[in-house]
């Protein structure tokens, strides 16, 4: 028995803006210096979500494979670009490398979830787009975390790396510990999420589905699917990103290119 969903319109958005207005007023009164940030965040979220809502709504109506792929590809590109920018590294081709990592990982998970689990046999954007976005987003977060950690550790541990190289270690041997640490650190949030889910937090997707009228158990099972999918993507994304990136800091003659690490900030 799916309940009727209370529709939200622009009038309600005005009421929601009232909430932000109060937040800005409090910030101004307490001189927190957050008014500009709050205003910017408010405007951007209204604009971005409206545009996305319209765009996805349009793609939902098309139900053609190329629009779905185009939208997913665009999301992947933005995710790859964002991940590359967040690493503060100036490595040529980094955006493409990370985009390729995200696409690979998300594509594997998305295919499995939609084909094996959900048994979709049409290009149904209602499933593909939100699932794809969620998987890409989590792969993006974990690969960014992994790369950030790898670079920070390599910078701090450059002397250790060079000591290993001087003993005849290959770059792979010299960075083994750093790569492992970066990967485990990057998946820690996902693992914590799995342990506390439902107890400490109700995930956004499940909340959204329940608000949208889905029975709680169904929402929980969908959440399970998402949770396993994003943990898979987080781990694989971190592994691929670290394995692809670590060798780039070395020359073919097993020399650490400290300059590339340093350009990092």
């Amino acid at each position: 028995m799916v309940e009727h969903v209370i529709p939200l319109g622009w009038q309600e958005v005005l009421l929601l803006l009232g909430l932000m207005a109060v937040a800005m007023a409090v910030s101004a009164a307490m001189r927190l210096g957050l008014v500009r940030e709050l205003a910017l965040g408010t405007v951007r979220s209204v604009v971005q979500l409206s545009v996305v809502g319209f765009a996805i709504g349009w793609v939902f109506q098309q139900r053609t494979w190329y629009w779905v792929l185009l939208l997913l590809g665009l999301m992947a590109l933005v995710a790859g670009y964002t991940a590359a920018r967040r690493t503060h590294l100036r490595l040529p081709g980094l955006t493409w490398l990370l985009t390729a990592v995200l696409v690979t990982v998300a594509a594997v998970a998305l295919l499995y979830l939609t084909q094996a689990v959900l048994g979709l046999h049409v290009w149904n954007p209602r499933y593909l787009i939100p699932l794809g976005g969620m998987l890409l987003g989590n792969a993006m977060n974990s690969s960014t975390l992994a790369v950030e950690r790898l670079v920070a550790d390599l910078r701090r541990g450059a002397a250790d790396v060079e000591a290993m190289l001087a003993l005849g270690a290959s770059p792979g041997q010299a960075t083994q510990r750093f790569r492992r640490d970066a990967i485990t650190a990057a998946v820690a949030p996902s693992l914590n999420g799995m342990l506390t889910v439902g107890i400490v937090t109700l995930p956004g997707m499940m909340t959204g589905q329940m608000l949208g009228g889905t029975p709680p158990l169904q929402a929980a099972l969908y959440q399970l699917m998402i949770l396993f999918g994003i943990t898979f993507c987080a781990l694989l994304g971190a592994i691929l990103a670290v394995q692809a990136l670590a060798p780039r800091f070395f020359t073919g003659a097993w020399q650490l290119q400290r300059g590339l690490l340093r350009a990092a900030r």
């Binding site: 002397a159 250790d160 003993l167 005849g168 290959s170 003659a253």
Partner: protein, 265 residues
Amino acid sequence: MNAAPAFALHGVTRRLPDGKALLEDISLTVPRGGILTIAGPSGAGKSTLIRLLNRLDETSAGTLEALGQPIAAWPVRTLRRRVAMVFQEPTLLGLTVRENLRLPFRLEGALPPELDARIVAALSAAELPEALLERDAEALSLGQKQRVALARALIGAPEALLLDEPTASLDPGTADRLLTGLARLNRERGLTLVMTSHRFGEVRRLGGRMAVLLSGRLAAEGPVAELLAHPPTPEVAAFLREPDATGPEPAAAPQGPAGAGGSHG
């Protein structure tokens, strides 16, 4: 016996990617079984020079031969096994002293059958008691750590040993014992020594030849006693007059200005 020198440099230059020269037009020869101490003020290029000799960094111009062939003709691991290196700050990489000494073989993927005998020999060469073998390397004193690093460098039976400010972080007594041991290795095994140092007393005691670097250029080269007694130019004389003038590399920022591979000293 192979008559080729341990190292032969002709017009060796090292530049950063931005074109700044760290070393310019260095020509010198280190015979097998010879001792060369590289002296010079902080930032003169001492570490930069020594790091070229096991190819931790790359020359930008000129030719550099190591153990009888162009340095780039050596497989990197073979080169670094035969030209070992000890850094200013001892970097211990395993849990115990024994693990540190096994590391070079582990990197090659095979422990030699006579490993225990080699460990004992390396310990005695570095004047370390066998009782230390199972100790946690991190818990050792600085002087002991540096000697473990020395033993680890010696365990692969290198033909040449590079030492970048090996005594800079040691107290004079410990430094003195280290140097005595090095002199003995040179005398008894014909181990070629190339060392950067900031203590003239040490340089004089170790003997052999000395190269003075000023602003990345070779300002003087010759037998230690002769150079100290008769500096060839006023600049070299001015430098040698300063008490312990060849300052140690700043340990906190050993990489120098930005650039691929980093700049040292």
